[in-house]
Amino acid sequence: MENIYAHLTGKLSPSYTKVLKVNAMIEFIIELVVVGILLGVSYYFHWFNWINIVLYVVGALIILDNLWDFFFQSKFTVNNWAYEVDEQYIQLKRGRLFEHYEMIPMTKVQFVATNQGPILRKYGLYTLRIGTMGSEHSIPGLPEDEALRLREEIAHYAKVKEVEV
């Protein structure tokens, strides 16, 4: 009972950790710049003092959050991701502190696509996107061959449609 998701065998590529680290750094810089500009404007125009306090608190939170993301979350995300694709279902599971499991019947899949941003490209990774009637799901950080194989597989299985009763 301890782990009800042990049967999910698919894993993300270990190098996705690096992608997440790069992302965390970029985010860190952008967020700090935004807060810095706001602080500057606030001092220049003599905004209320509490605005400065809020901005400092937000800044501190950003630093902590990104440190966490950089050193821990990036590894946890990759370690805790699991998926399984078979003829009938797509199963996705992520997170440990906040576990999240999804099960999508193949017959309800409406599209499947692969995406690759510049950072993912540098590490040869893809994000697989799966669209259903109501929502979109994605598996991030898959190695190229795995991502393309999954895409073809899902596209093939998803051709089968249910008889709507």
Partner: protein
């Protein structure tokens, strides 16, 4: 099969809707400031006049340019004065048929028929805005026949789209579905009285009275008069009591009348394939829904309805059914609980199940109690900075925990063969019943705390427009596991496309 136009009186309807939506600006310009010679108001008068004339011209042009046609397999609607739009919907894609007769439509002897598909977006439905009720009935019946013919092959060769309303030459319809329809429910006086209380419609009088009162004082300069009344009433308990009772009685009667007009003439009928819901007295509405499109049943009970032993059954269906605010997908909203089970068994036997439901374990209560009361915390923070009374924060905190306790008490769940039943909610409870193969995806979530208590949150999604998501919090992990296995074993007929 010729192109047809809406009834000519649709011009009146359009002009009326223009005046309705610009009522207050026009009132301001032409009544209250008619003698105001300021430049601004003079310009406003001319602009408004121009728009009034334009709205009339537009109405006529719209009527001239809007045509519809029923072809062999599809209905085509063309409209647009400058840019033309052509809308086509195949008969077999039409999921629900909605008929709406506003009070004005009724006076003019017209009705609105909306043919809805399961799709979203502008092209999802065709609205025949102003046609004769006889024509609407004819279209409905022929559509049903046509759909039957398209699904079950060609045993009904006589369904022709000859829509000329030539009464003599039209043979009596053999496919009159009215014959096979069975009436399931009509509210009695008792139901209407209960509905009045459950809907709190007698309170509706208070804002109306208040508005009238202040308007009257403003308009007729009655301040002195009003203050004299206040003097008269203050201190005279007898007068106050009498006035209160009178007010109470008036608002009760008012509530009864309102409720009667809204829900009095309610009819729930069904035949083998469809459910027909009719309502309203001044403005009439009727809905036709395919039974096989029903994806689930939701039984709702507000706190008040629970006290009055009433409930509301909603049908979650593939297509959008009318305006959401009108709650068109609802069987009678104030259905006695006793009746609802038998009604459901009559109309949709596939959802009429009553298994013994499981309650939440004690550990869920602990989980609910330790979860951060975020809303109350935010209220406290706001109060802290605004310097208002902390009582509001205390109230928010109390409501939060009372709600959680109620949630713990009322939550029920069970899997029974092909069916699943989830009952959730605190002040208002919702019982959702659906079948395994109607669920389009599932989710199971748990936080570290939930995991410690052996609990999960289960989410399931059903088809609707756009989708219907149902969440149940803090069920035991055992149930979540059973749920996953149960769903993994769903068996459906498939076809290769």
């Amino acid at each position: 099969m010729e192109n047809r136009r809406f009834h000519f009186l649709s011009v009146i309807l359009q002009i009326a809707s223009f005046f309705k939506s610009w009522f207050f600006p026009l009132l301001l310009i032409f009544v209250f400031n008619f003698n105001n010679d300021a430049l601004l108001w003079t310009i406003a008068r001319y602009v408004a006049l121009f728009f009034i004339i334009w709205s009339i011209v537009e109405a006529i042009l719209t009527w001239r340019t809007t045509t519809y046609r029923f072809e062999e397999e599809q209905v085509v609607l063309k409209h647009g004065i400058f840019s033309k739009t052509r809308q086509t919907i195949d008969y077999d894609r039409i999921q629900n048929i909605q008929r709406k007769t506003s009070a004005l439509h009724k006076i003019l002897g017209l009705t609105t028929l909306t043919l809805e598909t399961g799709a979203t977006g502008d092209d999802a439905s065709i609205e025949l805005d102003a046609i004769r009720p006889e024509e609407a009935t004819e279209i409905e019946q022929k559509l049903h026949a046509k759909q039957k013919q398209m699904t079950f092959g060609p045993p009904l060769p006589n369904v022709q789209w000859d829509m000329r309303l030539n009464r003599e030459s039209t043979p009596p319809l053999e496919l009159d579905t009215k014959e096979q329809r069975k009436l399931h429910f009509e509210p009695t006086e008792r139901d209407t009285v209960r509905a009045t209380f459950a809907s709190l419609s007698f309170f509706a009088l208070i804002p109306i009275l208040a508005t009238l009162f202040f308007k009257a004082i403003d308009l007729f300069k009655l301040e002195d008069q009003a203050s004299r009344w206040v003097d008269l009433f203050s201190g005279n308990w007898l007068l106050i009591t009498a006035a209160s009772i009178a007010l109470l009685l008036i608002s009760l009667v008012f509530g009864l009348i309102i409720t009667y007009f809204r829900f009095g003439r309610f009819m729930i009928e069904s035949d083998d394939e469809r459910v027909y819901i009719q309502r309203g007295i001044f403005s009439e509405q009727s809905f036709t829904m395919k039974k096989k499109n029903v994806q689930g049943i939701q039984i709702e009970q507000t706190f008040l309805k629970r006290l009055l032993k009433l409930s509301q059954i909603k049908l979650i269906s593939v297509g959008k059914i009318g305006d959401l605010e009108q709650e068109a997908n609802s069987l009678y909203p104030f259905l006695p609980v006793k009746k609802s089970a038998s009604l459901l068994a009559d109309i949709l036997p596939q959802f009429a199940i009553q298994p013994t439901l499981e309650k939440l374990p004690k550990s869920s209560l602990w989980m609910k109690l330790i979860r951060l009361p975020i809303f109350a915390i935010i209220v406290f923070i706001i109060i802290h900075f605004w310097g208002k009374s902390y009582w509001w924060g205390a109230l928010a905190l109390f409501l939060t925990y009372a709600g959680r306790l109620l949630e713990y008490i009322f939550t029920r769940y069970q899997i029974d063969g092909e069916h699943i039943v989830l009952k959730t909610g605190a002040w208002t409870t919702e019982t959702f019943i659906t079948k395994r193969n109607l669920i389009i995806e599932i989710e199971v979530k748990r936080s570290a705390f939930q995991k410690m208590f052996g609990l999960c949150t289960v989410v399931m999604t059903n088809r609707s427009k756009p989708i219907h998501v149902h969440t149940i919090q803090d069920v035991p992990t055992d149930f979540a596991e059973t749920f996953i296995h149960w769903y993994a074993n769903r068996q459906v007929e498939t076809l290769e496309s």
